[in-house]
Amino acid sequence: MKKFINTPATYLMDSLNGFAAAHADLVTLHLEPLVLTRRERQSKVALISGGGSGHEPLHAGFIGHGMLDAACPGQVFTSPTPDQMIAAAELVDTGAGVLFIVKNYSGDKMNFEMAAEMLSTSNATVIINDDVAVENSSFTTGRRGVAGTVIVEKIVGALAETGANLEDCRLMAEHVNSRLASMGVALKSCIVPAAGTPTFNLPDDEIEIGVGIHGEPGRRRSPMASASSIVAELLGAILADLKPEAGVEVLLLVNGLGATPVSELYLLFNDARCQLEQRGLRVSRSLVGNYTTALEMAGASITLCLLSKELTALWDAPVHTAALRWGV
């Protein structure tokens, strides 16, 4: 294992201390339990997210004006604990209630569920499940929550800034989630620091289509192919799920999983945009970069969000966080 670490045990704290110091104007780091909160407090519904670490900048990188009020980082790829979520809620609630934004994994759901049961302030939870690589069924945990979470946090964050109440924020989060679909592909595994070995082994000439953001296997392994044919497969699955009407405007997010050069992400964006336009969809908003990573996994994911006038306006609203910043 070759990584910039001191010891696997101090990996998370060393990184969080760096993050908090680098963005001291935006966030405050609280210890025991571990919570990051927004520096500037405002009377509004508070948005709290959290999840395993290793997906940076998700979630702490999205704390700030127009997005999250707090984030609870777990150990690498491990859900945070209820005491973190309760502490976060108590730190950022201004009386308008808190909305927990939770990615659809058993551990995240159970820990947030226990926190919600123990919490005395008014709260609601939304579960994000945008990954179409996994078939949804009542017999499984269901679709995973992946990079589309960033879009939910941005749009609902903008709505909360307008003074919308907790129920409206929850409904908006559900609404955005229902208009989102994502799928990823891996070229190379990541290495969890505590494990020290690759999570999976992928031969040099093969790719994992539909990979999860923890290195979970996806739909199938296939031989390495051209960027445009990989994009076609991802978009095929996404469009089969969203079934957009021709002429609709979409937000296209090309997300890097950690070790893929930004130039390749733009190359994927170019292919994806052309293919979408050929199908009569208009890419009116875009985001390209590393926003929901899987440590040093090489690969990328594509997310589409069907827009409306309202969603576009909320997407365009000012945001000031470590990882997204515009209009300010």
């Binding site: 395993g52 150990q75 209820p82 969890v192 494990a195 979970e216």
Partner: protein, 223 residues
């Protein structure tokens, strides 16, 4: 029985999981994300740091304190699930401590865990070990078997439950994303549960057999 007995079980669990660390990590990397054994060890180590407080308590308050500590330390799925198991045991009315009240405690602890995880037998999880074990424990304490027979029946049931997960399709947790691809792999949570139960049975029986030889065998079969 008191907080000291709880810590003896924690020590036995920690030793056996540490001994099988690589094997459980391998099972988890095959169908999960590889964090189960590290989460479990982090939780057990947190309980070991809390030794003076836990040892100073009666049996059920010691379980209750351990549950809270696990909940705030482990995270993932194991945190809420193991905390529910111990909390359920701590909350079961038990005027006196004997094998039938212990069996009743264990049964309601497992029920609380199953409710939290919304899972039952046959879903390729630790419940495939814990539910059958709680049934055997309850059945045999109401009959007149010797304690040796009871412990050995529990160990057999735990092993059968663990091995049965190999042919299952997971419907809960991260392995559920794999569908058919998880078949052929033993569930890491079922394996860690079986190891801990066996270690506690051996502790109770005063036997400290080394089961290290099983480790590579199961990992090999799972691959």
């Amino acid at each position: 029985m008191n907080g000291k007995s709880v810590m003896e079980c924690v020590d036995a669990a920690h030793a056996v999981i540490e001994q099988h660390r690589d094997e459980i990590a391998q099972l988890d990397q095959a169908i999960g994300d590889g964090d189960h054994v590290f989460n479990l060890l982090r939780g057990l180590e947190a309980l070991i740091e809390l030794r003076p407080q836990i040892e100073g308590l009666e049996f059920q308050p010691a379980l209750s304190l351990s549950a809270s500590k696990l909940l705030s330390t482990i995270g993932g799925s194991s945190g809420p699930l193991l905390a529910s198991l111990l909390m359920g045991m701590a909350k079961t009315p038990a005027p006196e401590l004997n094998s039938s009240s212990l069996a009743a405690m264990f049964k309601s602890g497992v029920a609380m865990m199953a409710a939290r995880g919304k899972a039952g037998v046959g879903e390729k999880t630790m419940l495939d070990v814990l539910i059958p074990v709680s049934e055997t424990f309850e059945e045999l304490t109401s009959t007149h078997v010797s304690s040796d027979q009871l412990l050995s029946a529990i160990k057999t049931r735990a092993e059968d439950g663990m091995l049965a997960t190999r042919e299952m399709i997971a419907t809960k947790g991260r392995a559920s994303f794999l569908g058919e691809r998880a078949v052929g792999h033993i569930d890491p949570g079922a394996r860690s549960s079986q190891l801990i139960i066996t270690a506690i049975c051996d502790l109770v029986a005063g036997r400290h057999e080394s089961r290290a030889s099983d480790a590579l065998e199961y990992a090999g079969r799972g691959a």
